[in-house]
């Protein structure tokens, strides 16, 4: 992990039935993905409420990735479709509050799609890195850097 990577943190909510298993598979296949990502296992993306995403940003995330099953193959039938609508709703809140909505994204993968998941993670990290640290964290990071130097 180079120092550039350290600048941002992406929280990835991964559904137990697909993305979480895919992340596991990525590990077995020795596929690397950026260390900025913090994976949170969820029983289904449909369990995720709008406030979970907002709270993640409040708690210091620079980006939030929601990874659910492919559309049509949710273990609970339509949890991923519910999640998609909630993600869209939360993006509206982010934008209104002064955060770029691109910091929150939903992707769909199956449990066999380790490579696609890691590509999604890399792409998300890249997007967030381009946007820079969340404005919520900028002040805090500056303080930390000042203390260090």
């Amino acid at each position: 992990m180079n120092s550039n990577n350290k600048e941002i943190t992406v929280v990835a909510f991964c559904c137990l039935y697909c993305a979480y298993a895919a992340a596991d598979l990525a590990g077995s296949m020795r596929i690397q993905y950026p260390a900025n990502v913090r994976i949170v296992r969820t029983p289904c993306t449909g369990r995720l409420e709008v406030e979970f995403f907002l709270k993640a940003f409040e708690s210091g995330a620079d980006g939030v990735l929601v990874a659910g099953c492919e559309e049509g193959s949710c273990h609970f039938k339509e949890g991923n479709l519910v999640a998609k609508r909630r993600v869209n709703y939360a993006r509206k809140y982010l934008q209104e509050s002064g955060l770029e909505p691109e910091r929150l994204r939903m992707v769909n993968v199956s449990s066999a799609m380790a490579r696609q998941l890691t590509d999604h993670i890399k792409d998300m990290v890249e997007t967030v890195r381009k946007l820079g640290p969340s404005p919520l964290n900028k002040a805090k990071r500056r303080q930390q850097q000042e203390i260090k130097s």
Binding site: E51, L54, E58, Y93, L94, E96, S97, L99
Partner: protein, 222 residues
């Protein structure tokens, strides 16, 4: 139930600017059911305000609380301590709730975080529709239970305007023509003869046009 919708964060930030300790106060009744001002929406709103405050350096300290009913003094008491501690209250109750809180706490700024829209029902998941304009003298009995005052765009009481297409209202094709519904319903319940009666112009004095209304029940007064 009363149906409301949230204001946007920039609108609310504008209203709250200058205050520090802000209490977002929810209501557990109508606005909970229409997903505008219950515990969950309070949590989302408070989170969004904290994010806005940190992103825009507004200096808000946001706390949250939801009580059973904002339009009732007995329940308002449960929020008294939290309200006293706050510099301002952002109420996610309906317009009546906001005013009830403001009346009880004379020195506390109380703001509406919602736009109170109408009296309606949950039509289907995620969709609410207006059903009653609270005219003060209900005429539903004459129209098969479908309100022409609320659901006909022109409030017509003596038959359709003639502009409907298929079963759609000419003012807004997204809406059903109320008169089409009234005719069908009266036919279904065998009361089409009701339509032969000419309805006199409605007395709007019983509606809001007569100023705020008061109901007194002497048998319940002490």
């Amino acid at each position: 139930m009363i149906v409301a919708e949230r204001k946007t964060i920039p609108e609310i930030v504008d209203i709250l600017k200058g205050h520090k300790n802000i209490l977002v106060l929810g209501c557990g009744t109508c606005v909970t059911v229409c997903l505008a001002g219950g515990e969950r929406e309070v949590s989302i709103m408070a989170s969004a305000l904290r994010i806005a405050s940190r992103a825009q350096n507004l200096g808000f300290k946001v706390s949250e609380l939801t009580i059973e009913r904002q339009c009732d003094n007995i329940f308002i008491e449960q929020a008294a301590e939290a309200i006293e501690k706050a510099d301002a209250v952002l109420s996610l109750g309906c317009g009546a709730g906001v005013q009830a809180i403001a009346e009880r706490f004379a020195k506390k700024p109380v703001y509406a975080g919602l736009n109170t829209k109408f009296l309606g029902i949950l039509e289907e998941r995620g969709t609410w529709t207006e059903k009653c304009a609270q005219c003060g003298e209900c005429v539903l009995a004459e129209y098969g239970g479908i309100c022409p005052v609320t659901r006909c765009a022109k409030h017509l009481l003596n038959g359709p305007c003639g502009g409907s297409r298929e079963d759609r209202c000419e003012v807004n094709p997204d809406r059903a023509c109320a008169w089409q519904l009234i005719y069908k319903r009266l036919k279904d319940i065998g009361q089409l003869d009701r339509l032969e009666k000419i309805s006199a112009p409605k007395k709007w004095g019983t509606s809001l046009s007569g100023g705020p209304r008061v109901i007194v029940r002497e048998d319940h007064r002490i």
